[in-house]
Amino acid sequence: MIKRILAASAAVAMSACFAQAQEVKIGLVAPFTGIGAEFGQQADRGIEQYLKLNADKIKPYTIKLIKRDDKNPSGADSKVAVQELLTQENVEALIGWIYSPNAFASAPVVTAGKKLAIITNAGTAHITLTSPYWVRTSFSMWHSGFPLGEAAAKILKAKTAVVGYSDFPPGKDELAAFKRSFEANGGKVIDEIPMGGPAQVPDFTPFFQRAKDAKPDVFFVFIPAGDHSAAVVKTYGALGMKEAGIKLIGPGDITQDTKLQAMGDAAIGLITMHHYNADLDNPENKRLVAAWHKDYGANSTPDFMAVGAYDGMAAIVHAIQATKGKLDGDAALASLKGWKDVSPRGPIMIDPETRDIVMNEYLSEVVKGADGKLHQKLLATIPNVKDPCKELKVGPCAGSN
């Protein structure tokens, strides 16, 4: 009897030991202060929800998340944070990067560190070419802009368009993507209007008036996720563009779920193309949204930044299982090439060649629901979109590692 107890307790002790040895350290690099604090919080919560809702997929490993603030898009803080996570904390994989400049600045360190690095937001198309250890679970700006060009011509039957964009790389990418596919499908972009930088919300009136005067069928607007969107729809409403028969369209950055309610009724009728919104009707998303409301309050909602991080963590967990907890950089990379999963945004895959995500894009319209809140109604699904920038080898996307 005593022997048996001894043996059992030894086994328990050993398994406890074993369990401890199975802890995997992951470094999260995101802005937790400054103008991006909100985005960092979305990413952090996305990861938290994944770990909570999928605890069984992680066993027998445990994940220790080490968070570092990369503060601003200067590059340097992000780079130092990545250096220290790799050399001081010895993390097995990295996740994060909200700002594209920070991903570019960190690329040489990621390459030298030889660890899996998951981008959960930064959207400049050619980032993934800067290091062989990048895997992106968010999007490239081309993912939404390109299919929207085709949809505008074919589904919305638009002949002419005016493009207004925030004057920084994601805006220019959206413009290039939209223009290319819209004109390939018989449409014509009759004016291109840069509308100030991403840091401050400008007065949109002069830009929108110029667009209105050009009398296009659709007005395509790109502004960065954040506080711009409310000003966009208010100006659109105030100038009577809807009454003038000009449809407001854009990528889903302008109907970010966290900002949707603040946009007010002026947003009704707005048509966007994106890979995620909180109203998507699938069991994975329902589970995420319900858990989110429970943990962070009924007025809080996940958005595409949260889902980018949610799927980023899913990718890391897959790599942990596939490499039996070792997460050796090259083996982890190999296990993710061609990896498929069912995400709250629908089916996803990591393209084995570009390490970028392949996913559905959803054409949606903002409508007022029975609950008095704004929702996004699905109009059409464009399945399995690969980053068109790399497919078509546009500009810097033509490069290789």
Binding site: F32, T33, A37, G40, K67, R68, D69, K71, N72, P73, S74, G75, A76, K79, V80, Q83, E84, L86, T87, Q88, S100, P101, F104, A105, A107, P108, V109, T111, A112, G113, T124, T130, D167, F168, P169, K172, G197, P198
Partner: protein, 337 residues
């Protein structure tokens, strides 16, 4: 009270003559910097960033602390230097690091000279706004010239060949970068120290204290200010080039208001017009923000804010000012003329 026998032996004369004498404690910062290299090999990325900031703050000290040129746009020169070194290397025109620094100094100095010729006709708030404008113009130019400058995303992965053909820049363990930046900082510091104790430097202090009197004694005030501004710009350009080279990266943040404001805070925090204020301020500000943000990623700004409030309330002359006040209180009299 006996009259001094000759002018040379007057205590004031001795004090004046001995002002530029190197004091024993002046070796301490350099010893600490070398000790840091050996003691914290895994913090050298942060260390490199810190040294670059010190150099940048020294360049601002020359303009603001010594000549009294109130500027909020010093990042214009930091960015000009960073983009010069970065673009030359990125476009494979010239990538050798040390000559890259010289090119950066020349370009930043030229920007300083050009803008200084116009700006330094003004003083006070007008000057402040114009320095800000210069920086904003350069930033927008860099944004518009995205084809050459990389725009908002910056120029990634700049290839810097080994230093002296031997020492390679390692992105993960930036040992070489640290020593390289430390070496350049030392050379620049010796230069600035010599400059501020020279008659030229003295005349700058004179201009800061009483411009009218300097005019009256016949000093060429505007020329002195422009020369000082140009030198300060060139050193800021070297700091920027070091930043670009050690990060193998350059983007719009090098020209941003954030950087210009931060370096001003650092200098005021440490104490301006004192040379070593740049060291003390940069170490205090950056170490605090680095380590607080490491352990409290979401709430670290609170701690930094409290420090700044305390300094603003109780130590108007910065951290070094506290020591000076203490020295006076306990009665160590400095020889005064």
């Amino acid at each position: 009270m006996s009259a001094p026998t000759s002018a040379h032996e007057h205590p004031a004369a001795r004090a004046l003559a001995g002002r530029h004498r190197i004091r024993l404690w002046e070796i301490i910062p350099w010893l600490l910097a070398i000790a840091f290299y050996f003691a914290f090999p895994r913090y050298l990325g942060f260390g490199t960033e810190l040294l670059v900031t010190i150099l940048f703050a020294i360049s601002l000290d020359l303009a603001l602390g010594y000549a009294g040129i109130v500027t909020l746009g010093h990042a214009a020169f930091f960015g000009a230097g960073a983009y010069t070194a970065g673009m030359l290397a990125f476009h494979h025109i010239w990538s050798e690091p040390i000559t890259g620094l010289i090119a950066a100094a020349v370009v930043a100095g030229a920007v300083g000279l050009g803008s200084g010729l116009v700006l330094l006709r003004t003083t006070g708030l007008t000057l402040l706004m114009l320095t800000l404008c210069t920086m904003a113009l350069l930033e927008e130019a860099a944004n518009l010239g995205g084809h050459y400058t990389g725009g908002f995303d910056g120029l990634p992965g700049i290839d810097i060949p080994p230093l002296f053909g031997m020492f390679e820049f390692n992105p993960l363990y930036p040992r070489v970068q640290y020593l390289y930046v430390l070496g350049v900082l030392f050379v620049c510091f010796v230069f600035v120290r010599t400059l501020v104790y020279s008659p030229f430097g003295q005349s700058l202090t004179g201009i800061r204290e009483n411009t009218l009197r300097m005019h009256a004694v016949g000093a060429p005030v505007r020329v002195r200010l422009i020369v000082c501004y140009t030198i300060s710009a060139a050193i800021a350009g070297v700091a920027g080039a070091l930043w670009a080279q050690s990060n193998a990266y350059v983007n719009l943040s090098t020209l941003g208001l954030d950087r210009a404001a931060t370096v001003l805070i650092i200098l005021v925090l440490g104490g301006y017009g004192r040379l070593y204020g740049a060291f003390v301020g940069a170490v205090a500000y950056m170490a605090l923000s680095h380590f607080l943000s490491k352990y409290f990623p979401t709430a670290w700004q609170l701690g930094l804010g409290l420090l700044l409030v305390v300094i603003a309330l109780f130590a108007r002359n910065g951290i070094l000012g506290i020591f000076e006040t203490l020295q006076r209180r306990i009665g160590i009299k400095r020889p005064s003329p």
